[in-house]
């Protein structure tokens, strides 16, 4: 093959006028060969999406694009919108991140697929187009496609919408599919399914795929070649094995080392990659990564390093003046990003103390209303359906599950410090149902919460001082004491005390989350509820925040209720784990035990769905794929609620299946943890796919 399918050469994209130009993409060059799977990895703001959107010609008109994009011998930048529209959808197709907003809400899924077909084949009859749409939906794994073809997007779940997006993309057998963060908005279990469908789509159409993602784990198992982007440029590119085994650019090394990894030892400290990417409005001279790079020296700040081949590795390029040293082993990778020291834990007597938080059979139901204009009650959702757990002093309970499993409702129920709808909640041995209004306010200083999105949880119009001191205003602490305490808190979370009079938007995501933690800690609580505290952060800064949380726990003797969907993170930080499914805890016990030997088929599937940032492991390990989506919470389910998706259930002999269908498994202790499965004692079935 002489010419690659797609050749991007020295692509530059700039937004904005003269006063403040954002140079989002700065000289990106890459090639995609026919049938190849290229992964492009980068954090937010790295320019990965902009550069791919430029290929489709879908950037807003305010973007200035220069360079060259050659597709199949044609220069795409020379084509106008009309000429490009003939290529879009027929030759090059794109899959977007958020499948809800990417589908037009007023047309059926079928209409939207047929539209794509008819745009490029005017002669196709309505009947044939519809038949093809049904066929495509079948290909991407939508059950009952004849019926679902007439559904509207809002009637689909997130995973099904993304399947439909893939169906639209492959409708005209494109030669190139660009997938822009196709799984970011989805749960791990659904992510695993979508990646499978994407692979299948690639096989059927023979198309080349460009997968854009922030998650190294996602590309590890799928891509042939990986490009890493940073501050608008490709900083390293290599065949997938090489990139993971022998990265030559310190940024890639840092990224790989900072990721919590399901395959790494559990107790190991994470390696933080401090700092934030430079602003694309005012790039520093020299290597844009120099400020965050522990291996940087004076020469790094002189001139921006070019993307050059790394000796000895075929097809491996890196933009680092020390790449040779790294590749040759003269500069050892672990030395660039050393593992931080463990912090000495304050010894807490775990045995004698009563639990600080205890939930007993807590239930929470909501009426379900349907329609935006015409609301009516159509049923009841059991968001939390009999949850019991307890957290000991100085320990961390990890609460995991897919979205819709009831994790968030559980913690909101806890944070109300009120009487639960059903069951009991006690904090430090006090039943919250018995509290008076004043007691409740007093108890608030014992338990505080840190939210997922650090931007949303800080009032953008208040200074850091006022934000962190807000809990103190409730008790009416004097102003000078507030100032003193805020300064101490800022120091505690690793920020400059002088930051107090700045505003939230002046900080990076990681710093904002530290501010959120400082606010929670200022009243010296003993319990911290952490609601997905790192999931909104870029991978590189996650590690810093997680390490901080571990340090704080050790130094202050805190107890954490850590809610997360990222199992690698939970595995890293939790002492105990509770796995939730449809409002119940299906497996609950010590983290060591559960992560090494999950007993519930759901736990097994969850673990297996987490991608591991190691291509070798990804290729060899067996997977437990979950079928379908979380059932509608409205359904009345008899027997085991997990039955409809259970990989084990399908393999069971009929008599055992009947038990699953008829009898709801109660929580019982099996191998030192609580499990809700009839067959938890059995040797694990070979449920691998």
């Amino acid at each position: 093959m002489t010419e690659p399918l797609l050749r991007v050469d020295d692509l530059h994209v700039t937004f904005g006028g003269q006063s403040q130009q954002v140079h989002a993409v700065r000289g990106v060059s890459y090639e995609v060969n026919r049938g190849e799977f290229l992964g492009i990895v980068g954090e937010s703001g790295s320019g990965k999406s902009v550069s791919s959107t430029a290929v489709m010609g879908l950037l807003p008109s305010s973007a200035k694009v220069t360079g060259s994009i050659r597709y199949d011998g044609r220069e795409l930048l020379d084509l106008d919108d009309k000429q490009l529209s003939r290529i879009r959808g027929s030759e090059i197709a794109m899959i977007f991140q958020d499948p809800l907003s990417a589908l037009t809400p007023v047309y059926t899924i079928g209409q939207q697929i047929i539209e794509g077909l008819k745009l490029h084949d005017r002669s196709i009859s309505n009947q044939a187009a519809r038949a093809r749409a049904v066929e495509l939906l079948g290909v991407v794994g939508i059950p009952n496609p004849q019926r679902r073809v007439d559904s509207f997007p809002h009637e689909f779940s997130g995973g099904m919408r993304q399947r439909a997006m893939i169906a639209i993309a492959i409708a005209n057998d494109p030669k190139l599919i660009i997938a822009d963060e196709p799984t970011t908005a989805l749960d791990v279990t659904i992510q695993a399914q979508i990646l499978e469908v994407l692979q299948k789509a690639k096989e059927i159409t023979g198309a080349a795929v460009v997968l854009i993602t922030h998650d190294l784990g996602v590309v590890a198992g799928n891509a042939d070649r990986v490009a890493v982007m940073y501050a608008g440029r490709i900083v390293e590119q290599a065949p997938v094995d090489q990139l993971f085994a022998a990265p030559a650019m310190p940024y890639t090394i840092g990224l790989l080392r900072s990721m919590p990894n399901m395959a790494a030892p559990r107790e190991e400290r994470l390696v933080p990659l401090e700092g934030r990417p430079p602003l694309l409005t005012q790039l520093p001279k020299g290597c844009p990564f120099a400020d965050r790079c522990p291996a940087a020296f004076a020469a790094c700040r002189g001139e921006e390093p070019a993307l050059l081949p790394v000796a000895g590795d075929d097809g491996h390029v890196a933009a680092c003046i020390r790449a040779e040293e790294i590749a040759a082993g003269r500069l050892r990778r672990p030395d660039i990003f050393p593992r931080p020291e463990e912090v000495e834990a304050v010894p807490v007597a775990r045995v004698d103390s009563a639990p600080v938080v205890e939930l007993r059979d807590v239930k929470r139901t909501f009426p379900v209303m349907k329609g935006t204009v015409f609301r009516r009650r159509i049923g009841t959702v059991k968001a939390v359906d009999g949850v019991s757990f307890s957290i000991g002093r100085g320990t961390t309970l990890g609460l995991v599950g897919e979205s819709g499993s009831g994790k968030t409702t559980t913690i909101l129920e806890l944070m109300e410090l009120a009487k639960a709808q059903h069951g009991s909640i006690s904090i430090n041995g006090v039943d919250t149902a018995t509290l008076s209004q004043a007691d409740r306010r007093k108890l608030r200083s014992e338990i505080q919460i840190v939210f997922q999105d650090p931007m949303a949880s800080l009032d953008p119009r208040m200074s850091i001082q006022d934000i962190i001191a807000e809990p103190l205003t409730v008790t009416g602490a004097p102003k000078d004491e507030q100032v003193r305490k805020v300064a101490r808190m800022l120091e505690l979370v690793g920020l400059e005390p002088s930051f107090a009079n700045r505003y939230p938007h002046q900080f990076s995501g990681g710093q904002r989350q530290r501010i959120g933690i400082a606010r929670a800690l200022i009243v010296e609580p003993k319990i911290l509820v952490l609601d997905e505290p790192v999931s909104a952060l870029d991978v590189s800064v996650q590690a810093g925040v997680l390490n901080l949380l571990e340090d704080l726990k050790a130094r202050l003797g805190l107890s954490y209720l850590f809610v997360a969907h990222d199992l690698a993170v939970v595995r890293h930080i939790a002492d105990d784990v509770a796995v939730m499914y449809l409002g119940r805890i299906v497996e609950y016990g010590p983290a060591d035990l559960i992560f090494s030997d999950p007993r519930h088929p759901y736990t097994q599937a969850l673990f297996s769905a987490v991608p591991v940032p190691d291509p070798q492991v990804e290729r060899t390990r067996s997977r437990v794929l979950l079928q379908g989506d979380l059932p509608s919470p409205l359904d009345e389910i008899t027997g085991c609620p997990f039955r409809s998706r259970c990989p084990l259930y399908k393999l069971l002999p009929e008599d055992r299946q009947r038990r699953c269908a008829e009898e709801d498994p109660a929580a019982r202790t099996v191998h030192d943890r609580e499990v809700r499965c009839h067959w938890a004692e059995e040797e694990r079935f070979d449920v691998a796919v």
Binding site: R88, A102, Y107, T108, Q112, E115, H120, H154, T372, F374
Partner: protein, 327 residues
């Protein structure tokens, strides 16, 4: 679905009833039916005033709630809204006049919506280009102009045109030329000519407000991901906007229609008055000037029924446009 619309309708009915009752109480306490009889020469005897007032059901000596009760009972059992101070049946008056008002209102609303939506879409698609700038500033000027000023300015212009062309192209006082004789088509033509200026006046006003709203609704959807998806399927920018954008941007318009109806209704009444039409706007104002409680209360009922119909219509539109509310 039908159930929800029914529920909404019931809510509207409740609102209409309460509004009408409150309206009746309001006019009964603000209007002074006796004022009409005072200061006459020779003075009208008190007994005669009382008889007249009692016959109308507006005698202040009867407790207010009792008057209200009678009015409602009368309305429900006989469908009558009572007698006006001029001795005519209010119900009959309203029937006679409502055609005049509705003609203007319906034509103005429909034309205003169609033209306004078209201009709004055009402006949004050509954002910051000449068409957008011109329509934007034009609608600002129109929205800064009270409807009565618009009407009078149109009359000044029409008169000027009539004078310079020495003709009667624009004939705008009243609904028709009194005493005009001729065949059906002559009369129809005369009415159409009379309808011209008021319709322009109301339509221009409606176009200005609908187009602003449609423009911003359109801008909201223009950056939506699904427009990008449609383009990624092979639509050009323009065709993606029209096929996917406009269709979605129409949804909030149905809500805006319900909200703006009160304003359009006011605009229509003001237009009628400015062009001396004998419609419901004039009826309301003369009833206030005559201290005519029954006529004023009747107008309130009429208005609230119009609002009820427009609200229900907007709900139907919403349900028809947005599959997410259909169940």
């Amino acid at each position: 679905m039908a159930g929800f619309l029914l529920k909404r309708l019931l809510n509207y009915l409740a609102l209409t009833s309460v509004a009408t009752v409150l309206g009746y109480l309001l006019v009964s306490s603000t209007l002074d039916p006796i004022a009409r009889f005072l200061g006459r020469n020779p003075p009208i005897p008190q007994a005669s005033i009382d008889t007249t007032l009692s016959r109308l059901g507006v005698n202040p000596d009867t407790p207010l709630l009792a008057r209200l009760g009678n009015w409602i009972v009368n309305l429900v059992t006989t469908g009558s809204l009572g007698t006006s101070t001029r001795g005519t049946e209010v119900t009959a008056d309203i029937f006679a006049r409502s055609g005049t008002s509705l003609r203007l209102l319906i034509i103005g609303t429909i034309l205003g919506a169609i033209i306004g939506i078209a201009i709004g879409v055009w402006g949004a698609v050509r954002q910051y280009k000449a068409p957008d700038q011109i329509t934007t500033y034009a609608s600002f000027v129109v929205l800064a102009t009270p409807v009565f000023v618009l009407a009078v300015l149109l009359m000044i212009t029409a008169t000027a045109i009539n004078r310079t062309t020495d003709s009667q192209i624009f004939n705008f006082t009243g609904e028709y030329t009194p005493g005009l004789s001729g065949g059906f088509f002559t009369l129809l033509g005369d009415r159409i000519v009379h309808l011209l200026l008021p319709t322009i006046s109301l339509t221009v006003f409606a176009v200005a407000s609908y187009s602003r709203y449609q423009r911003s609704a359109m801008l909201d959807v223009m950056s939506a991901d699904y427009i990008r998806t449609a383009r990624s399927k092979g639509r050009t920018r323009g065709s993606a906007m029209i096929r996917h954008g406009v269709r979605v941007a129409l949804i909030p318009m149905s809500t805006f229609f319900a909200y703006s109806f009160g304003l359009v209704l006011t605009g229509a009444s003001v237009t009628e008055l400015a062009f001396s039409w004998h419609g419901m706007g004039e009826y309301l104002i003369t009833s206030i000037r005559n201290n005519d409680i029954n006529a004023a209360a009747g107008t309130i009922l009429f208005t609230s029924i119009l609002v009820l119909i427009s609200g229900t219509l907007a709900d139907f539109l919403y349900a028809a446009l947005d599959p997410r509310v259909r169940v």
